[in-house]
Symmetry: C2
């Protein structure tokens, strides 16, 4: 017998039929003898509609009222799923954030979880009841409803799993696990049985948007074993001792660590080059300070100094931040005193991720060689302990991903 | 300076434009220097949709989960209206039932209010903030969300007005007040400035569905002055010392009481006659006991004993209860031992209501004479201290209402 938290996202509970199908899945889990708690998102589209209402009334709406409005989406799903479970003979009860209570700070719209009171829920689970918790929300220090920010239901689920001391937190999504790369680009991509928190974090932040980054960080910190699996796959008896999805775990739970866990890509990139910046101390701060003030997320940064004593500063940002970036930098031209501003949206970022590369040399070199063999020009390089990323021309995305997937021996069969 | 509770129903907040318009109306009230608290219903259609979801998942859904789901409708409106008010520069804050708290018993789906904690709200109102309270809901003894039953937002508003010791509770509806009868039938119907609680109760229960009966009972018990007025009328400076709607008040607040306050009608009536019942003690209980058990609401009851020692028992019920009534009585035929069951849905109930008839004889006789002059046959008569009701053929409804309105001198001009 295990204690399991099951989390279902918006597409998994998009309508009443899917809510019924989720209830059937939970009933199967309960039937194995496991103690089960459930976390749900709002039905797909509901949160966007509520957010739209708030924005239509006031672009600068009060975040406290925004939270009170949008948190209702998850409350509806929790109540409906409890009804669907009871209909199947499964004892269930819905829980809103304030009822648990799941306490957060008062940063409305992006609150951070401070504590989860688990004793009542544990007692109910031990008595055979399934708590159905409204995700994405909590209650702040002043008794106001708070929300955790978009995608916060994953974080709710991991925090609940930690508080319940659960054996596993199963995140049901529209994919059946974490693949070595996007199967739409590489049909021979392989589903991983296990992946480390660190790898998952790097994959999440480079475009494999299966889990919210924050939930993976919390899982890593609290040592919560997270499984990513599909809520749309047929209900079937799982193979003996084998989980259907991908388990995100601590590194020491993976015996035979492969060097490269996966190849990620992101097309949502824009390259900005600030040319002929005077090469003097403080110039990087002069460029990136105003961008940070304007909440522009800057990713890869490269600085190269020319012979004439001036510097070129190149960085990437998301396509949606490009217009703001240009505006900020043009406004700061007098301060930075640069010569020219160049931008390019026709770029993609390709990343090779794996904790194994810490102890294996040559991973980066394999990447550079493979791309070079396909005549793919590398525009920017950035590396971390477990990741190598390169910026290339957008039109080479698929070619690069496929070539690298083969070069690292990830192709199946 | 007065303290006012303003309540807006579902059609008044049906979309964002109407919510903005409601906010503008509240701002005008605040600008007069009044302390204002607001109670809102769910946006029109939302509650029905949520109820539909619950019923689709399970016809016998858990009332606790039903309450958790449907209460969200009012929470959304409260948050959105708070945002709209802030946008107009009015300080506002939304309140859900559990936040106030507005405590109820645990009769989920039809909970009764037990207490309203008013001190925090009063302090905020005195500091210039407008509390926007989600109507229709409270929190039960176990910390679960409860709802007061359909139309419960009127009751929320009256209970809040009582707890706040408010000078008036303004109920905004889609009519601009209480008329002497339905203006669609009698164009010369007159809007009343004032009406007593008792008259309002009789009018509410005979088909003038402006206020929920329960809210009027509570207002009468707690001596809350209730004004019924239109949320769609143009915003205009009210005439000096004159309220735009109809004030529902205690009898002694009305100086020159008219004998008849209004003529009400209901087409939702069905007549049932149980013929040739043995005339013995206990037979009324044998007929009406099983109907009460089946939650059939029985209204007018007439018993007449024939020469042969058997009795005819005639009563009315709503059209929607007729099928159930027939089923129950056919099932109980062996016990009641009646001869025949007759039903008639082609009937209407016409009622003349007025506290003045207590001290004036002849009100009933005027009614009978007036109908007789139009050759309208009276099938059943029932009277209370301040009401005379008759059952007539459905096709005579308009004719009877118009004739009576004239006969009691209610026609305007």
């Amino acid at each position: 017998m295990a204690r399991i938290v099951m989390k279902f996202g918006g597409t998994s509970v998009a309508d009443l039929d899917r809510i019924r199908s989720v209830a059937a899945r939970i009933k199967c889990q309960v039937a194995t003898g496991d103690e089960v708690a459930v976390v749900v998102s709002a039905m797909a589209g509901v949160t966007n509609q509520l957010v739209g209402h708030c924005q239509a009334l006031s672009p600068l709406h009060d975040a406290r009222e925004y939270d009170a409005v949008v948190a209702t989406g998850e409350q509806v799903t929790a109540g409906l799923l409890a009804i669907a479970l009871q209909m199947l003979g499964v004892e269930a009860r819905s829980w809103q954030g304030w009822q648990i209570p799941l306490r957060t700070d008062d940063a409305h719209g992006r609150a951070r979880i401070e504590s989860v009171e688990a004793s009542t829920l544990i007692a109910r689970m031990q008595a055979g009841q399934v708590p159905v918790v409204a995700g994405f929300q909590g209650v702040g220090p002043n008794g106001r409803v708070t929300t955790l920010g978009r995608g916060g239901s994953d974080t709710s689920a991991v925090a609940l799993a930690a508080a319940l001391d659960a054996d596993r937190c199963d995140i049901y999504t529209d994919v059946d696990g974490i693949y070595t790369t996007d199967p739409r680009i590489v049909p021979r991509a392989r589903k991983r049985d296990r992946i480390t928190y660190e790898e998952m974090l790097e994959l999440a932040s480079v475009g494999a948007k299966v889990l919210q980054t924050r939930s993976v960080e919390l899982a890593m910190k609290q040592r919560v074993r997270v499984q990513v699996l599909s809520s749309f796959a047929e209900l079937a008896a799982p193979e003996e001792g084998r989980l259907p999805g991908t388990l995100v775990v601590d590194e020491d739970e993976i015996l035979e660590q492969e060097i490269v866990a996966g190849i990620a890509y992101s097309r949502d990139e824009a390259k900005v080059t600030v040319r002929r910046v005077p090469d003097r101390p403080g110039v990087a701060a002069a460029v990136f300070g105003p961008l940070a003030d304007a909440h522009v997320n800057v990713d890869m940064i490269v600085q190269s100094t020319g012979a004439d004593g001036s510097t070129d500063m190149t960085f990437t940002t998301s396509k949606s931040d490009l217009a703001r970036t240009i505006k900020v930098l043009e406004g700061a031209r007098g301060v930075i005193q640069y010569g020219e501003l160049l931008t390019d949206s026709e770029v993609a970022k390709i990343s090779v991720v794996g904790v194994g590369m810490r102890s294996h040399a040559g991973v980066a070199n394999t990447m550079f060689r493979t791309l070079s063999e396909r005549s793919i020009n590398i525009q920017v390089i950035s590396t971390s302990e477990i990741k190598v990323s390169v910026l290339i021309g957008l039109e080479y995305t698929e070619l690069a991903v496929r070539a690298l997937h083969g070069a690292y021996g990830l192709d199946v069969g």
